[in-house]
Amino acid sequence: MPYVPNTDRDREEMLREIGVGSVEELFAAVPKGLRESVELDVPGPLSEAELVRHMKRLASMNRTTDDVVSFLGGGVYDHTVPAVVRYVMGMPQFYTAYTPYQAEASQGTLQSIYEFQSLICRLTGLGVANASMYDGASAAAEACLMALAITRRNKILVAGTAGPSLRAVVATYLEASDIEIVELPETCGVTDVSAVDAHLEGAAVLLVQHPNFFGLLEPVDELSVKCADAGVLLVASVDPLSLAVLKPPSDYGAAIAVGEGQSLGSPVGYGGPLLGFMAADKKYLRRMPGRIIGATTDTMGRRGFVMTLQTREQHIRRAKATSNICTNEGLVALGAAVHLSLLGKNGFRELALQVTSKAHYAALALSAVAGVDLRFEGPFFREFVIDLSVPARRVKEELGRVGIWPGISCGCYYDGMENSLLVSVTERHTREDIDSLASGLEAVISPGGSS
């Protein structure tokens, strides 16, 4: 057993010190009947060489975004992860540390998370951010719970254009409470502002994703006015990269901003770990879930950092805590802080500009293909929906054979969109990649094309 230092001799000596005759005796408190029956049927043990062979075989059974030209997005995006981000996340001082309970021995974790919070505040324009949540979906759910507690109301409004998995997680978190969830209808791919009025009364929160699942910019200014008039808190689920160019949630009166931070330095990783973030107006600080790092001083007057406002949290307030969250995504938040610091003010903006430019180039190139139309007219950020003259599934299958994954079939998530694809573009796509998607679509769809 490579990870257990005790030798048989150590064990014997230690048992003698303890004053028992065998290891078995240490388990005397476990009823004998329960102990005797156990003979685990699990594979192993494997040597390192055997393990590597097995794992590489499993890994080889997956096609990755490097193996194909992939336009899959929908919340998890294939950006280049800078080597420095991986390097810092791989420092054992960070990744083999626990939650920073002993602040004096955890200043690295604490300061880097304080910097993460500060960076999220700068992106969102809001006054406070927490030390991270599991993912954008659970962050949205927690924001709804927070808004329900603040307003003491019992209804939430969720834009139907918010991501399907985000809406599903919100529903799970609220399943046990007596909360009415109203899904707001869309028009032209964005929330139908005229349909909002009917539901505002008594609502705690309006949750909107901006840009939404279809990549479209939502009418946040109009929604904001409606919310303000009705005392409804606006919660914006935002793509952090979009905030390099789009106005921050503070500008349109969002009380809380949440989002998925995977695009800030994490690989697609089959969807996990992800990174939820949450920022809020400072007046709601005491209602926030999760850890919050604050600056303070030590006995010599030097600056240092601690976990603060812990009285909100489960280990102190227990049943009355603002949330049950304990472990979060600290290391991924560190990665995001490194990523934002590395790209910096200009690099991050340049990245957003590239993504926007390539997405719009792609939209133009694809919609020029006969049998392909842009489904929605409104402005979009990094992804967009195309309608095909044939079922999207068939197109995906055929293009898959030539190593092109054209996007997500919207029909999996929305009725009546069986012919639609959500196409997502990052800085990793070259013009050639996009052109090959256009010609691929042409070949598959046009009457004279393959199939």
């Binding site: 057993m1 257990v4 230690m14 010190e17 303890i18 028992v20 290891v23 005796e25 240490l26 388990f27 005397a28 009823p31 156990v38 699990v42 594979p43 192993g44 494997l46 393990l51 997956n62 990755t64 899959l72 810092v88 054992p92 990744y95 083999t96 540390a97 002993q102 021995a105 690295g108 979906a137 659970s138 998995s165 910019l217 905030l243 160019v245 690989p267 600080l285 919050i292 600056a295 030590d298 030097r302 600056r303 406002l309 489960q314 307030r317 227990r318 049943a319 009355k320 949330s323 049950n324 969250i325 472990t327 979060n328 600290g330 290391l331 610091s341 500009l353 390539k358 719009h360 994954w405």
Partner: protein, 496 residues
């Protein structure tokens, strides 16, 4: 008056203080399509007027900043980290390498099942292995952390009870419970009913019998509990809870003591969560990412989080593994995708490396190390619950308190000796608690060193308590003012 946190002495400047206009640490590819006119394509009214004030640094500056921060951290690669109930064991390097294989990191979650059989098979088979280890029938790896697993478990309890005719209103927890337990069951719509532990630190079966009724949806316990003792009367406990139609929930935080020795599923538990970042050696990352799979007996299978990984050996669809989304009774999703997959990869590799005998050796040595430490430390600190322990035990600094030294001071003094402190002030039933979990990956020499240091601190507490109350002095910063942090909040740079 200037705020010393902004203008005073610093050990390491913030990344904002290091910023220098015009620097950049990363080069993007040259844009090979026409640059978009942002106002035109996004709409002028949607744009921000000034770019977000991110720092501007070159790559070496970024690396140095975070390296210097890293150097200020204590971590388990350096020395013993005996936080009770946290299972700070060694994180095998090979597992990190395996989780970093491009064939795992590069898989997009929308990849069709046929194209990612390796990933789905890993999720499926890790679930099977965890089920075998725990004696549960089914395991979902979707919950991304222990508390998320608790929520999923409790929502399944609720769905099950509702299907029996009444979701019920209460969940019982012992007074030694982790804070997440009452917080999670509250989120699942239940009222927490706390019962006091008996004089031996175990559940008082009579008290439990009196507490349960037809409104009891479940009893939620940790076993071995947070005092490090196994609930010997688990069969009676299960009978009492099941007798009123309740379910038995296991908080698996302390599963390390049971690997290969006893299976919760055999002991009457109906539902449990695992902490892969404790028992299965995946790193804590300074607070995550973790992974909190939830396991259930068959009676709860229909309610598992959606989707559920499944296997078809006959490959009717042309492949062996996929996800089942057709789960009408499921509690739904607790994670945006499938959970913390790359964490699951590490746990999977860990189990394969250990095999059945290795897993048992983990539990045996964890329990051996804890008992050895307990025995050696007993002369110097109060041991409120004497007798053999499992993987952890709880001391009290009550003797030291009379000398003016509190558990917190002992914790801080340990840092000066280059060791991490135990968990302090938990569980709540022990005054001045020091909760110690050495884990199986500490050597006897490392345990002896810890004993020597604890003995020295006990002696200092008697002879020169100011050394202890003034600690730490050997850390990058000395004792930090938590009151100031809470009263005059500074939680983001440049914002007040």
């Amino acid at each position: 008056m200037s705020d010393p946190r902004k203008n005073g002495q610093t050990v390491e400047p913030t990344v904002f203080e290091l910023s220098h206009p015009g620097r950049s640490g990363y080069r993007l590819p040259a844009l090979d399509v026409p640059p978009a006119d942002l106002a035109e394509v996004l709409g002028a009214s949607n744009l921000r007027s000034t770019p977000p004030e991110l720092p501007e640094l070159s790559e070496p500056e970024v690396v140095r900043h975070f390296t210097r921060l890293a150097e200020m951290n204590f971590h388990v690669d350096r020395a013993m980290y005996p936080l009770g109930s946290c299972t700070m064991k060694y994180n095998p390097r090979i597992n990190e390498e395996m989780a970093g294989l491009p064939g795992f990191t590069g898989v997009h979650p929308e990849t069709t099942a046929a194209e990612c059989q390796g990933a789905i098979s890993l999720i499926y088979n890790l679930g099977r292995m965890l089920a075998e280890i725990s004696g549960m029938d089914h395991v979902s790896i979707q919950p991304p952390a222990g508390a998320s697993g608790e929520l999923a478990g409790m929502l399944m309890v609720r769905a099950y009870q509702a299907d029996q005719g009444n979701p019920r209103s209460k969940v019982i927890v012992p007074d030694t419970a982790h804070g997440t337990n009452p917080a999670s069951l509250t989120l699942a719509g239940y009222e927490a009913v706390e019962i006091p532990s008996g004089p031996d630190g175990r559940i008082d079966v009579q008290v439990l019998a009196a507490a349960v009724d037809e409104e009891t949806a479940a009893f939620m316990i940790t076993n071995p509990n947070t005092l490090g003792v196994f609930e010997s009367r688990i069969a009676d406990i299960a009978e009492i809870v099941h007798g009123v139609g309740g379910l038995l929930y296991l908080d698996g935080a302390n599963l390390n003591a049971s690997l290969g020795v006893v299976r919760p599923g055999d002991a009457g538990f109906d539902v449990m969560h695992f902490n892969l970042h404790k028992t299965f050696a995946t790193p804590h990352g300074g607070g995550g990412p973790g992974s909190g799979p939830v396991g259930v007996k068959s009676l709860l299978a229909d309610y598992l989080p959606c989707p559920v990984a499944r296997r078809d050996e006959r490959k009717a669809l042309g492949f062996e593994y996929d996800f089942d989304y057709d789960r009408p009774k499921s509690i739904g999703k607790v994670h945006a995708v499938y959970g913390n997959f790359l964490v699951a990869v590490k746990a999977y590799a860990y189990i394969l490396t250990l095999g059945p005998q290795g897993l048992r050796r983990v539990a045996e040595n964890a329990v051996l190390n804890a008992n050895y430490l307990q025995k050696k430390l007993e002369p110097f600190f109060e041991l409120p619950f004497p007798g053999l322990c499992q993987h952890e035990f709880v001391l009290s600094a009550s003797r030291q308190k009379e000398q003016g030294v509190r558990a917190l001071d002992v914790a801080k003094r340990l840092l000066d000796y280059g060791l991490h402190s135990p968990t302090v002030y938990f569980p709540l039933v022990v005054k001045e608690a020091l909760m110690i979990e050495p884990t199986e990956t500490e050597s006897r020499a490392s345990l002896d060193r810890f004993v020597d240091v604890m003995k020295a601190i006990a002696e200092e507490s008697a002879s020169s308590p100011e050394l202890v109350t003034g600690a730490p002095t050997g850390t990058p910063v000395s004792r930090l003012d938590e009151s100031l942090a809470a009263k005059e909040l500074d939680v983001a740079w440049g914002k007040t």
